[in-house]
């Protein structure tokens, strides 16, 4: 016997009988959203806010690309350009990818572990509102002094009061502090929730991989944010109270900022990518009809990335002259962290190998993630080689590299997650046809945008450059001064925009349409698919008892169900159709 779970379609299930909001007072409409402590509603708030900021960050990117499409561009002023690239980076990292990941943590994790809510529901609401107010506060800068303009990693001494006397950096610095409070509140909440509130029988090694990635990401947040908090407080003292922590002539050390920032900043990269890895690790098995290949290796690789992620920060600083011993250490640790990442890539491929693959939209995004993230990972590990890094430092090659990781990786994973769980969030289906249009437009636009940046980078084009001349070799194909890789890159950016417009159209059409989604449209493996879509406020009317991984799959394929013909779906393992006994072998109780 594998699992005892409430039956998904049982007509007499207590789910139907319960009042929608249990014992909750009946706030209605707008007020109910301001006061909600329901993890699912907070997830929706997080997700929709993050998507709004994605549109803002995307608009900033398009303006950057219009400016750089042709030589001697004058679409924006140099000052505005500095503001655009600073806020594009800051917005996409802190106001889109992080909160969008937290949206999934909120909605999905309690459902996957069989919990009624998160451990601290009001702290969860506090986390969202703090994020929202911090994000609005940071962007208010535009109406006061112009947007922040010190780059997303805000290197000192540029950001000190001597070189940035306006309030722009103040908004950035204080806004990040507020966002840090939101992130920490969320991280502690998920740590306690995952450690304490798992369903009976759900041992750590039976936990869904997305939940594992949430756990590790939360640890990373808790240990990484103190470093940037310290860095920002020192900067605040320098800017407001006349101290000299980062001012070398008075005994300060600008490199202190770089160290503190990147001790945070590199784990931050994993904070951005691990949730997407978790989503992909849920999507690939479902659409390959096979359990995740080498589940323990995926888990241990995630844990290893969490640890090693704190030991690689100075590879961002090879050009500062740290000396051969330090450079060698960080070169070695950077090569080392590629190992668990590579392990995961092989696991994902192993999951698909021999599977009964369905090329749905979430699956396309997941495969897009694996392939594009691999390219980003390879160009990343190239920079473990110090001389190579010194050549590429601050060039468009690096811009290409981290967009393959964060767009080809994190963004593709998130889009896969949105298409995968959309029906669970809304009770409605997203059009597969439009989804595939969205994927192919975004995928081709992405490669057109960020692929040629590699070439521009090795041809010497520096990142953050405002404009360039006709004769610098970055344009001038066929004797046309405006035609070159930069034009191709800008056209690619607009193709991405077209893909996202298709997604927005599909989303609006779905939201205005009828509730037509089944509870389990994909033959899902984990517990959230056993619930109605969207789930009731209390989630589980009967607490699930878990005796294996992929608990809902095991329940659907239990011997009684198979004999009664309740669920004829079978698992494909390495190309062979298997029944329950083999499944149990894969997932010992």
């Amino acid at each position: 016997m594998a699992v005892t779970l409430p039956r998904p379609h049982a007509p007499a299930a207590p789910v139907q009988a319960a009042p929608e909001y249990g014992a909750l007072p009946a706030y209605r409409g707008f007020i109910s959203w301001l006061t909600t402590v329901d993890h699912k509603r907070i997830g929706i708030l997080y997700g929709s806010t993050a998507f709004a900021f994605f549109l803002l960050g995307g608009l900033e990117a398009l303006m950057i690309r219009i400016q750089l499409a042709t030589p001697d561009g004058k679409f924006v002023s140099p000052d505005a350009f500095n503001q655009l690239f600073t806020m594009h980076g800051t917005t996409m990292i802190f106001l889109f990818v992080m909160p969008m990941s937290v949206a999934f943590f909120n909605y999905i994790v309690p459902l996957q572990i069989g919990a009624p809510d998160v451990a601290f529901p009001r702290l969860n609401a506090f986390s969202y509102w703090t994020f929202l107010f911090g994000a609005i506060f940071m962007n208010m800068s535009y109406f006061v002094d112009g947007m922040p303009d010190g780059g997303w990693f805000g290197y000192a001494p540029l950001t000190t009061i001597r070189f940035s006397p306006s309030h722009r950096i103040d908004f950035w610095m204080l806004g990040l502090q507020i966002l840090g409070v939101a992130s920490l509140a969320g991280a502690f909440n998920f740590l306690v929730t995952i450690i304490n509130m798992r369903a009976p029988g759900m041992s750590l090694m039976r936990m869904p991989v997305f939940t594992w990635n949430t756990l590790i990401t939360s640890f990373l947040l808790v240990f990484a944010f103190p470093a940037i908090t310290v860095a920002l407080i020192l900067l605040m003292f320098d800017r407001f109270f006349g101290t000299n922590f980062y001012y070398a002539p008075n005994g300060g050390d600008p490199l202190l900022w770089q160290h503190l920032f990147w001790i945070f900043g590199h784990p931050e990269v994993y904070i951005l990518i691990l949730p997407a890895m978790g989503m992909v690790s849920e999507i690939l098995p479902v659409f390959s009809k096979k359990p995740l290949f080498g589940y323990p290796f995926v888990v241990y690789a995630t844990v290893a990335i969490g640890f090693i992620g704190f030991g690689v920060w100075a590879h961002h600083m090879f050009t500062t002259g740290l000396g051969p011993i330090v450079n060698s250490f960080f070169a070695a640790s950077t090569m080392l962290i590629a190992v668990p990442t590579g392990v995961k890539i092989f696991n994902w491929m192993g999951t698909m190998y021999g599977g009964a693959i369905r090329f749905t939209t979430p699956m396309l995004f997941a495969i897009g993630f694996v392939s594009m993230f691999t390219i980003g990972g390879l160009t990343g590990v190239m920079h473990a080689i110090v001389p190579v890094d010194m050549q590429h430092q601050d060039s468009y090659f690096v811009v290409a590299h981290f967009h393959y990781v964060l767009f080809g990786g994190a963004f593709f994973g998130i889009m896969g997650g949105i298409f995968f769980w959309w029906s669970k969030f809304t009770g409605k289906l997203l059009s597969e046809k439009l989804g595939k249009w969205c994927f192919w437009l975004v995928f081709s636009g992405f490669n057109l945008t960020f692929g040629p940046m590699h070439f521009l980078g090795v041809d010497g084009m520096p990142r953050r450059i405002y404009t360039y001349g006709e004769n610098q070799g970055w344009s001038g194909w066929f004797g046309l001064h405006w035609l070159g890789w930069n034009m191709v890159v800008s056209i690619g950016a607009f193709i991405i925009m077209a893909g996202m417009l298709v997604f927005i159209y599909a989303a609006i059409r779905s939201l205005l349409g009828p509730k037509n989604a089944e509870n389990d449209p994909w033959d899902g493996a984990t517990l959230e698919w056993s619930l109605p879509s969207p789930p009731p406020v209390y989630n589980f009317a009967v607490p699930p008892v878990v005796r294996s991984r992929d608990a809902f799959w095991a329940w659907k394929r239990r011997p009684q169900a198979v004999e009664a013909g309740e669920n004829v779906a079978t698992l494909q393992v390495a190309g062979h159709t298997v029944g329950h006994a083999e499944f149990e072998e894969e997932h010992p109780s």
Binding site: G22, Y27, P116, Y128, F133, F137, I178, M236, Y538, A541
Partner: protein
Amino acid sequence: MAQERNAYYANPSSFHMPNPSFFPIIAAFGLTCLAAGMIFGYALSVAGFIYLVVAIGGWAMESTS
């Protein structure tokens, strides 16, 4: 313990979910005002601090049932 839990789940209408609350949003607003006062004037920081303290106090004493 197991019996209690089973009895609890046998009657979903008795589910106790946490109450909605205004205090998280007030606390978040207070925290933001506290920081914003560094730019817009310390009076705003003081107001933000008061908001924050009131919200935390209310949060702590709010009935959860």
